[in-house]
């Protein structure tokens, strides 16, 4: 219906954004009837999200026409932003921002670099930036999940961890069950995405490739390629971040820093 009313793509987009925002506000009103107040949070988040994405879109428009090295700059900025976002999931954990940024840079960054070198990802900015951002965004989510789970598990098992320390165990041994559990749990979304590919969901990239005239078989294979890269980037990120944070939750004298109420 909106397509009949608006011929200009910009106005159409704004009208579509308004309709989607109204749907979201309807849910907020339904929540309000159950005494759950999300009004201000939801409104601010939506306005902020719209302004952010439009601003980033405008910047991208300029950068995407620039030289190839700008893609490196963009991806580096994304890694820092991703580090800051997922570090919030690990509050109280010492050095969470540095650990998150380093892990995402090493996890997603190395997969992007290696795959670009192999030719799996094209070097032009319009391919490298969108695919790179997908890997970074997924690595960010995995990192957030890993740190959040590790924090919760450590806080819930302080007694067990300190008992192991008191028996002469090394710090890394005392937390190893929780490091392993957080690594496994953080990879559940990436594994489920691979497992349900094509059955539960047909991701946007494949739909975009089909719309732009790619052969369906190649679009389907490339979607698998992207998900496999996401799995590799996420797995490496989680592996690095859980190992880095593990050493930071203990003092040099192997005393557990992370304690309930501290």
């Amino acid at each position: 219906m909106l397509r009949l009313l608006f011929k200009d793509q910009l106005y159409l987009g704004l009208a579509q954004a308004l309709m989607a925002a109204l749907a979201a506000m309807l849910v907020v009103l339904l929540a309000r009837r159950r005494n759950i107040h999300l009004e201000s949070d939801a409104l601010i988040a939506m306005i902020r999200g719209l302004v952010q994405i439009m601003a980033v879109g405008s910047i991208l428009l300029v950068l995407l026409r620039g030289p190839r090295w700008t893609s490196g700059l963009l991806l580096a900025a994304m890694i820092v932003a991703a580090g800051a976002t997922s570090a919030r999931r690990a509050k109280d954990m010492p050095g969470a921002f540095r650990v998150s940024s380093c892990s995402i840079a090493l996890g997603a960054g190395s997969v992007i670099a290696f795959m670009t070198w192999l030719g799996v990802i094209a070097t032009d900015i319009t391919s490298l930036v969108p695919i790179g951002s997908m890997l970074i965004a997924n690595a960010m989510n995995t990192n957030g999940l890993a740190l959040n789970r590790l924090r919760a598990d450590v806080l819930a098992h302080v007694g067990e961890i300190e008992t192991a320390l008191a028996l002469g165990a090394e710090a890394k041994i005392s937390v190893s069950p929780y490091v392993q559990a957080s690594f496994e749990a953080s990879l559940i979304p990436a594994i489920d995405s691979l497992r349900s590919l094509g059955i539960v969901w047909i991701p946007g990239l494949m739909a975009g490739m089909l719309l732009s005239g790619a052969r369906p078989v190649y679009a389907a294979i490339y979607q698998f390629v992207v998900l496999a890269m996401i799995f590799a980037a996420s797995g490496l990120t989680s592996l690095v971040s859980t190992l880095l944070i593990r050493d930071r939750i203990f003092t040099p004298a192997q005393q557990l820093i992370l304690q309930p109420g501290r």
């Binding site: 192991a164 320390l165 008191a166 002469g168 005393q255 501290r262």
Partner: protein, 221 residues
């Protein structure tokens, strides 16, 4: 054997332990008593170096404990907590944990001896999930003894147990300490237990030692 000198810990301006000095001789049992929140458990954590002192230090056989590797120190000063925190698996696996950290493997005979000492003969293959509270705490004592400690730090070892289990564990501790002439520091809020087990006592209030001496004098002054 163990000497604390002006030991203290302040966290975010809050005094947990302040200027605590005392000495425990080899084979002696010292009780640390005091009301809830007086810093008894905090003091024990400092002795085991699970927390770092902000002032003072502890000497273990004349050596400043800050010069001893924390893992070695913790093995030498075995700790038993209020709750046993047994690791998932069998009793035997729990007993093997400490020595394994130093690359040592306990013989079957040593495991049987340890279980005999805590009155749990034949429990080696039992899953710890199926133990009663008193049995679990005795496994915890045996697990600490498996490390051949020079002293035992007991943090309210019977306070989470019912009356009959409490007496079982208390008897077990008494036998183990007596048979091995182990130095022992017992944190307890149970004054009767302190009188039964210890020779001397420290009364801790607001993190400071307010009384020290023979257990009966300290508790009944």
């Amino acid at each position: 054997m163990l000497r604390s000198e002006h030991l203290g810990r302040i966290v975010n301006g809050k005094v947990l332990v302040e200027d605590v000095s005392f000495e425990v001789r080899k084979g002696e049992v010292l009780a640390i008593v005091g009301p809830s929140g007086s810093g008894k458990s905090s003091l024990l954590r400092l002795l085991n170096r699970l927390d770092e002192p902000t002032s003072g230090t502890v000497y273990l056989d004349q050596t400043d404990y800050l010069q001893i590797a924390p893992r070695d120190l913790r093995r030498r000063l075995g700790m038993v907590n209020q709750r046993p925190f047994l690791f998932p698996g069998t009793v035997e696996q729990n007993l093997r944990f400490g020595p394994l950290q130093r690359g040592e493997s306990l013989s079957q005979d040593s495991i049987d001896q340890l279980l005999l000492r805590v009155g749990l003969k034949g429990y080696a293959s039992r899953n710890v999930a199926n133990l009663s509270g008193g049995e679990a705490q005795r496994v915890s004592v045996a697990r600490t003894l498996a490390n051949s400690p020079e002293a035992l730090l007991l943090d309210e070892p019977t306070s989470a147990l019912d009356e009959s289990s409490k007496l079982e564990v208390e008897a077990c501790i008494q036998n183990v300490v007596r048979d091995n002439s182990l130095t022992c520091i017992l944190v307890t809020h149970d004054t009767a237990q302190a009188t039964r087990l210890a020779e001397r006592a420290l009364l801790l209030e607001a993190g400071r030692v307010t009384r020290a001496g023979p257990v009966r004098e300290v508790l009944h002054a």
